[in-house]
C-alpha cells in the first residue's frame, strides 16, 4: 500500500511538473520581433498604406465581428487607465478589461504567460524600458500606424510607441519643509535629509540617468562617487514600493521629501489642497517615455489596434486632461517648460539594464533603519 501511494505521488509529480520545463530554465526566444503571421501581424499587413481615417473605418468594421473584450495590461493607475477605457467604450462600444500593477509586476506576468503560450493581454502600456524587454522577448508585434505621426521625436520604436511622458521630480511636504529648508540641488536632496527622505524601490532608470548624465557628465564626479552618494542616502531613507503610494504618503506627512515622484501626481495632489510641492524644481528633471504596444498573440486584432490608435490620438487629450504629459506634439501640455530636462536614453540603458538594475537594488535593499544590519 505504501509503495502504491508513493508511486501515485511520483506519477502526479511527473504530470504536474512534466507538462513544463524547469521554471528556472529560461526559454531562449529569438531576439527581435517574431515574424510569425499572427492575427495582428496579418491585419497590419492588410491595413498598410491606409490613411488614418480609412484605417479607422476599416478597423471599426472588423471590430464589429470580433465581439471580444480587449485586455489592457498597464502600470498606469486604475483611475486613469479606466478613464481611457471608458472613453474608448463610449466612442466605439468596445469593452476594455484592465490588469494594473507596478511596471515590474506587469512585465513579469507577461513573461510568464508568454513562456506558457498563454495570451491574455492584447494591449500593453508600460515604461519604455519594460517595453524594450517585451520587444526583445518577442512578445510585442511590430507596430506601424499613421497615428504615430504626431508623437514626439525619439519615442517611436519598431514595436512600441510613446503614449505619455513620465517626469520624475523631487517633491516635498510644505508643512515639514518651509522656505529655507527646501533643497536646491540633487546633492542637497541626497545628503541633507538623512531621516526625512523617501526613495522608490525600482527607479533604476531615474538613478542611471542622474548618475551618468548629470553627476558624472556635468558635475565631474566619478561613477563610484555618484553611486556612493545615492547609497548613503538610501542607507537611512525610507524605501517605498510604488510612486503613487509614495506621493500620497508624502502628502500625509510621512516623509519630508521624496527623491523620485511623478510630476503629474504631485501636481494633482497639490491641487487637491494637500501640502506638497515640487517647484522650484530640482534640476535636471529626468523624464522617460511610457509606451504602448500590441501583444503578438492578441486575439481581437482590430479592437486592439483601434484602442492603440485611440490612445495615440483622441486619448492624448484625455491624458492631458488627467494632468499627465501626453506624448503628442500637438498638445500644449507637453513637458514642464523652462526647466533643464534630462531624457532617459532608453535603448542605451536597455543594453546596460542588468548592471543598473542590480546596482540600484543593492542600494535600496541595503537600507536599514533598524538595529539589525550587517
Amino acid at each position: 500500500m505504501r509503495h502504491r501511494a508513493i508511486a501515485a505521488g511520483l506519477a502526479l509529480l511527473v504530470v504536474g511538473a512534466g507538462c513544463a520545463e524547469a521554471p528556472t530554465a529560461r526559454s531562449t526566444q529569438p531576439s527581435g520581433p517574431v515574424p510569425d503571421a499572427t492575427l495582428v501581424v496579418a491585419l497590419q499587413d492588410e491595413l498598410a498604406g491606409l490613411d488614418i481615417s480609412a484605417r479607422r473605418a476599416r478597423l471599426v468594421e472588423l471590430a464589429r465581428d470580433e465581439e471580444g473584450v480587449t485586455t489592457f495590461y498597464t502600470s498606469m493607475t486604475v483611475d486613469d487607465s479606466s478613464a481611457l477605457a471608458d472613453a474608448f467604450f463610449d466612442a466605439y462600444g468596445i469593452r476594455v478589461e484592465i490588469f494594473r500593477a507596478n511596471s515590474g509586476r506587469v512585465l513579469q506576468r507577461l513573461l510568464q504567460e508568454f513562456d506558457a503560450d498563454f495570451a491574455a493581454a492584447d494591449v500593453v502600456a508600460l515604461g519604455g524600458l519594460e517595453m524594450e524587454v517585451l520587444h526583445d522577448e518577442g512578445i510585442l508585434a511590430p507596430l506601424t500606424t499613421p497615428a504615430a505621426a504626431d508623437i514626439i521625436e525619439g519615442a517611436v520604436f519598431p514595436s512600441w510607441i510613446g503614449v505619455y511622458v513620465q517626469t520624475f521630480v523631487a517633491a516635498w511636504n510644505t508643512d515639514r519643509l518651509d522656505g529655507g529648508a527646501v533643497p536646491e540641488t540633487w546633492e542637497e536632496v541626497l545628503t541633507n535629509y538623512p531621516t526625512g527622505l523617501a526613495m522608490e524601490l525600482e527607479d533604476f532608470d531615474w538613478f542611471a540617468a542622474l548618475v551618468q548624465d548629470y553627476f558624472v557628465a556635468e558635475l565631474g564626479y566619478t561613477e563610484e562617487e555618484a553611486i556612493d552618494l545615492f547609497r548613503q542616502a538610501a542607507a537611512t531613507a525610507t524605501i517605498v514600493d510604488g510612486h503613487t503610494l509614495m506621493s500620497e504618503l508624502l502628502a500625509a506627512g510621512e516623509f519630508d521629501l521624496v527623491a523620485s515622484a511623478y510630476q503629474y501626481r504631485v501636481a494633482r495632489i497639490d491641487e487637491s489642497g494637500a501640502p506638497v510641492d515640487w517647484e522650484p524644481a530640482i534640476e535636471p528633471l529626468v523624464f522617460r517615455p511610457n509606451g504602448v504596444g500590441v501583444h503578438v498573440d492578441a486575439d481581437t486584432p482590430a479592437s486592439t489596434l483601434l484602442f492603440v490608435d485611440f490612445l495615440l490620438t483622441e486619448g492624448q487629450s484625455i491624458i492631458a486632461d488627467l494632468g499627465r504629459t501626453p506624448a503628442s506634439t500637438r498638445l500644449p501640455d507637453g513637458l514642464p517648460e523652462g526647466y533643464d530636462l534630462l531624457p532617459v536614453d532608453v535603448p542605451a540603458l536597455h543594453a546596460d539594464r542588468a548592471k543598473w538594475e542590480a546596482l540600484y537594488a543593492s542600494i535600496v535593499e541595503s537600507s536599514s533603519g533598524t538595529v539589525v544590519s550587517d
Binding site: 525610507t238 536599514s368 533598524t370
Partner: protein, 567 residues
Amino acid sequence: MNPAMTGGGGALRRFPVGRLVVVAGALGVIAYAAIIPIGYLLRGTFWDGRGLTLEFFRAAYSAGGLGSMVANSLLFSFGATVVAVTLGTLLAFLFARTDVPGKRFLFAASLVPLIIPGILNAVAWIFLASPRIGLINSWFEVLPGSPRFDVFTLPGMMLVEGLHLTPLVLLLMTAAFRAVDPALEEAAIMSGARGPAILRRITIPLVRPALLAAILIMAVGALESFEVPAMIGIPGGVWVFTSRIWRALSGFPADFGLAGAYSISLMGLTLVGLVLYYLMLRRSRRFETVSARGFRPHIMSIGRWRWAGLGFVSAYLFVAAVLPLLILLYLSTQPFYSVPTIDRIADASFTNYGEVLTDGRTLRSLRNSALLGVLAATIVMSVTAVAAWVITRTRLRGRWLIDGLASAPFVVPGLVMGVALLFVYLRSPLPVFGTIWILLIAYVTRYMPYGMRYSIAAMFQVGRDLEEAAHMSGATWWQSFRRIMIPLLVPGLLAGWLYVFLVSIRELSSSILLYTPGNEVLSVVIFSHWDNGEFGNLAALGVLLVIGLTGLVLLAQRLGVQFGARE
C-alpha cells in the same frame, strides 16, 4: 504493519465500492493539491534545465545582507510568537478559567482581529505608529521627551504581527484549557497546593501539547507572513525571507531559482520547527488522552484580580481591535490623510463609501471572494473530513502519509504557492488560468492543513461505537457516514469551515500573483488601493468588509450554538 491486514489485498477487499470511491476521491484531491507546489518548488530550485544544481543556493547565500535577513526573519518570527502566545494564552486563561467580568462579550470581541485582513492591519498600524504621521505619536507629542513609536522597525513589526496572530492562540488555548479535567486541579487544591503552584505544576504542564502547537503555528505563520514584511518591513529596511522572495520574483528577469532557494530555506526552517515540536511533544504524548473529552471547566474566583484581568483584556482590545478600526474609520471619511484633528473629523464625509459601493470592480471582487470563500471552505472540510475518517477509523497502511500530505502545504509560503500554481497551471491542459478557479485551487491547497486539524479533532469527538451501531442497523458505509457521522461532526466541521472561509477571504499573498483582470478578489482590490495611494477607498472597503464578516461570524455562532444545543 497489522497482522490482521497482511492478507494481500484484504484491506481493499473489505472496502465497499462506495467507500472506495469517496475515499479515493478525497485522497486524490489531497495528494494532487500537496504534490504540485512542492514538486514544482524542488524541481525549480535544484534543476536548471540541464541537470541537478546547487547554483541557486550558492547565489542566494552569497548575496549581500543575507546574515541580517536570516537574523531578521528569525527574530521577527520569535518576537511575533512571543507576543501572540503570551497574550493569547493569558486571554484564554482569563476567559476559560477565571471569573473575569463580561467574559462572553469580551471573548467574542477578542476574536475581531482574526476578522481584520492582514493588509488592513498593516495599513492601520502604519497610520497609528509611523514615527511622523502616526496617531499614537501625535498624542504623545504634547509630552516633552515622550517615547516615539516607530512601526518601521523590527520590534514594531513583531508587535503588529503578534497582535494580529493573538486571536488564533486564544482559540487554540481556550480549547486546551477547557479540555483539562477540573478534578486534576481540585486534586492539587486538596493536596494543599495554592494558586501559583497549581498553575505552574499542574495546569501549564497539562496544556503543554497545545501550547507547543500554538508556538509552532505562530512561528511558522510569522515566518511566512507577507503583509507586514512587505508593507512595513521594506520601507523600514527590515528584509526577511518573504520580502526577499517577493523581490526576487519582481526583478527582471524574475529569479525563480533564487526565490526557490529562499523558499526551500524557509521550508527547512519550518521543518526544523516541526521536528522540535514532535520531539518535545513525544514527552507529553502519553497524556494526550487528557484532552479527548470536554468538561465543565473549573472557574477560579480570582477576587480583586478580576479587575486587573478586565483591565488587561480591555487594554488588549483597545490596542488590537479598537485603535486599528478607529483609524480605518477615520481614514474612510477623509479625502486624503492627515493627522486627525477636531476640524478634520468634523469634515468627515461618506464620499469614499459611495465610490466603493458603486465601483464595478469592487462589487465583482466581493462576489468572487464570497464565492471562493464558500467553495474553498466546503471543499476543504469535505475532503479533510473523509481523510480524517480514514486516519482515525481505518487501519489502512500508509495512512500517516495522508496526514503528512494534507499538512505539507503548511510549510509552503503563500507567495511561493502563488508562483508554483501560476507556473503549473499556465501550462496545464486544465483551463483554470485566467479564471477564479486557480484561486480556488490555491485556497484549497493552502488551507487544507488547517481543515485537517479541525476534522481530526472533530472525528475524535465522535465515538466509534456510534458508527458501528449504524452498521449493525444495516446502514451502508455511505449511509452511516452521511446520516450518522456528518451530523455528529457538524459542530466541529462548521468551526473549521468558518475558519477556512475567513482566511480565504483574507488571503493576499497567493491571490496577488494569480488573479487575472475580471477575477479580482477583495484582498487584491484592497492591495491595489494601497498601491494607488487611495487610502480613503481602502479604509472604506476595509470597514465594510470587517462589518460584513463580523455579522457573518455572529450569525454562524448563533447557528453553531443551536447545532451544539441539539446534541
